[in-house]
């Protein structure tokens, strides 16, 4: 089986996540659900930041059960989380460097990623002075620079101003498509799902309530949440402040 296969059972105090899904090779899965449904927990479990109580994750048939540093998973959070003490270039070079490349090689790879994302002029800036859209592009470049087999995006557009959001969304969609690996993107906005994801997984209360294309969800919403989400009334606002 190529692509991502995941069975995730996680228990955290009052909350339990119990989901099962797969994404074909090169596919993009959107994950939606009300606040507290377990969307971020799902991503953290795949990344290896949360221990599974049961279940398994595999990518292209290979079990994904090592420590986070050996999973080959890239993550981008809504607040970018660029290392504040490193320049943009060194943020992107961080991964290649940690994976054993020399500093010049890591930096030249980082420079090529900045070029691809159209942010080469930012190379020597500090993250503190970047706009939200710039920071998110850098975060994406940083995640892609280590050639992950799986890309996890946690509401990557939620922190952006409306004016820059459309542009970043279009770029993000293009790069996710060019990436070629499996992408799982948590989204809280119909537009984001429409631009990024082929299939949508709806979770509520830690369980899958519906799965399908956005068109299928719109035509036959399984729950009130899905009906309002597909109608574009942004039911999960206000966006969660943190993961």
């Amino acid at each position: 089986m190529t692509g991502l296969t995941a069975t995730l059972r996680v228990r955290r105090e009052e909350f339990a996540l119990d989901v099962e899904f797969s994404v074909p090779a090169g596919g993009v899965l959107g994950v939606i659900g009300p606040n507290g449904a377990g969307k971020s927990t799902l991503l953290l479990a795949i990344a290896g930041a949360i221990e599974l109580e049961g279940g398994a994750v595999s990518i292209d048939g290979v079990a994904l059960d090592a420590e986070p540093e050996r999973r080959g998973v890239g993550v981008v959070f809504q607040d970018a989380l660029l290392f504040p003490h490193l320049t943009v270039l060194d943020n992107v070079a961080f991964g290649p460097r940690e994976r054993g490349q020399t500093r010049p090689a890591a930096r030249s790879l980082a420079r090529s990623w900045l070029d691809r994302l159209g942010i080469a002029p930012l190379a020597h800036r500090r993250p503190g002075g970047l706009s939200g859209g710039e920071a998110q592009r850098v975060a994406l470049a940083r995640a892609l620079a280590v050639a992950p087999s799986l890309l996890l995006l946690d509401e990557p557009l939620a922190a952006l101003d409306v004016e820059v959001r459309d542009a970043v969304r279009a770029d993000l969609a293009a790069h996710v498509r060019a990436f070629g690996g499996v992408t799982v993107v948590v989204a809280h906005d119909r537009e984001d799902v429409a631009a990024l994801a082929e299939q949508v997984l709806v979770i509520e209360g830690g369980r899958v309530v519906q799965r399908g294309t956005l068109a299928e969800l719109t035509a036959d919403p399984a729950t009130e949440f899905v009906r309002r989400f597909t109608a574009g009334t942004s039911p999960s606002f206000p966006p969660s402040g943190s993961a």
Binding site: A47, P68, E69, L81, G95, E98, R99, R142
Partner: protein, 274 residues
């Protein structure tokens, strides 16, 4: 809406104001007195005495060494207490934390006696060390540094632990997904992120070590030119009846502390995450 933005509906009762002013005077009054009664014309002469310069040198040197030792031992301790990297604190961690708190609440002189019992002549650890390895109990500046570290290290540990807890742990996850191992993450991500907290903790620790008197004089005793720190010299001058000298040296100590605190003034408030 913050609570402070609510308009006061009642006036503060008068007796409360009187007590509050009295409390403030008790805090500010002594400082005012020491400045007003300072022997300004004699300052330079008193401060440049050999005994004073020796004491200042010993104080600065031992406080710096105690801060260094506290960083070496306290940084790993604070990482452990903060539960890095898991973020969980087990029962054993909570027990360790209460032990770290002890020197903060312990009367310094009792701390000094405890150090004597452990490391003094015939002490719990110093006796076997002497019997087996011929090691003499710590005297001189080493004893001063040990006593100051005992008293001051908790301040460093708690400042750094607070900084670690305040840092966003998702940075650690991001670094991990980029292929960084736990020890590399500590060096390349966690420590740089908490650097302001480390600096603040070191400054607090240095200030506390510089002012330490009780535990140090009890354990290391006051030998001029060897273990006599500035606080000991100040007490000595006062005991000998030279109040001018005591006040002059106190002002030197205040000046050094103020310089240290000003240098790190901006670090006290935790940096707001961007």
């Amino acid at each position: 809406m913050s609570r402070s933005s609510l308009a006061p509906v009642t006036r503060t009762p008068r007796p409360l104001v009187v007590l509050a002013v009295a409390g403030l005077l008790l805090l500010v009054g002594p400082l005012l007195a020491i400045v007003l009664r300072a022997p300004w014309p004699l300052m330079l002469e008193i401060v440049s005495r050999e005994s004073a310069l020796n004491a200042l040198g010993i104080s600065l040197g031992t406080a710096a060494a105690a801060t260094g030792l506290s960083l070496l031992l306290g940084l790993p301790l604070s990482l452990l207490l903060a539960g890095a990297p898991s973020g969980r604190s087990s029962l054993s961690v909570r027990i360790v934390r209460s032990f770290v708190t002890v020197p903060v609440v312990l009367p310094p002189v009792v701390g000094g006696v405890a150090l004597v019992a452990l490391l003094g002549e015939g002490g719990l650890v110093s006796q076997p060390l002497a019997d087996w390895f011929g090691l003499a109990p710590p005297t001189s500046a080493v004893a001063v540094v040990l006593a100051q570290t005992f008293v001051a290290m908790p301040f460093l540990v708690f400042a750094i632990e607070g900084a670690i807890r305040g840092a966003d742990r998702r940075f650690d996850l991001v670094a991990a997904t980029l292929g960084s191992t736990p020890s590399r993450r500590l060096v390349r991500v966690t420590l740089p992120l908490i650097a302001p907290g480390i600096a603040a903790g070191a400054a607090l620790c240095f200030a506390r070590a510089l002012g330490e008197y009780g535990a140090t004089v009890t354990f290391a005793t006051s030998i001029p030119g060897i273990t006599q720190t500035l606080p000991m010299a100040i007490y000595g001058e006062l005991a000998l009846g030279d109040r001018d000298a005591a006040i002059a040296l106190s002002l030197v100590l205040i000046a050094v502390s103020v310089v240290v605190l000003l240098a790190f003034r901006d670090r006290w408030v935790p940096q707001v995450a961007r």
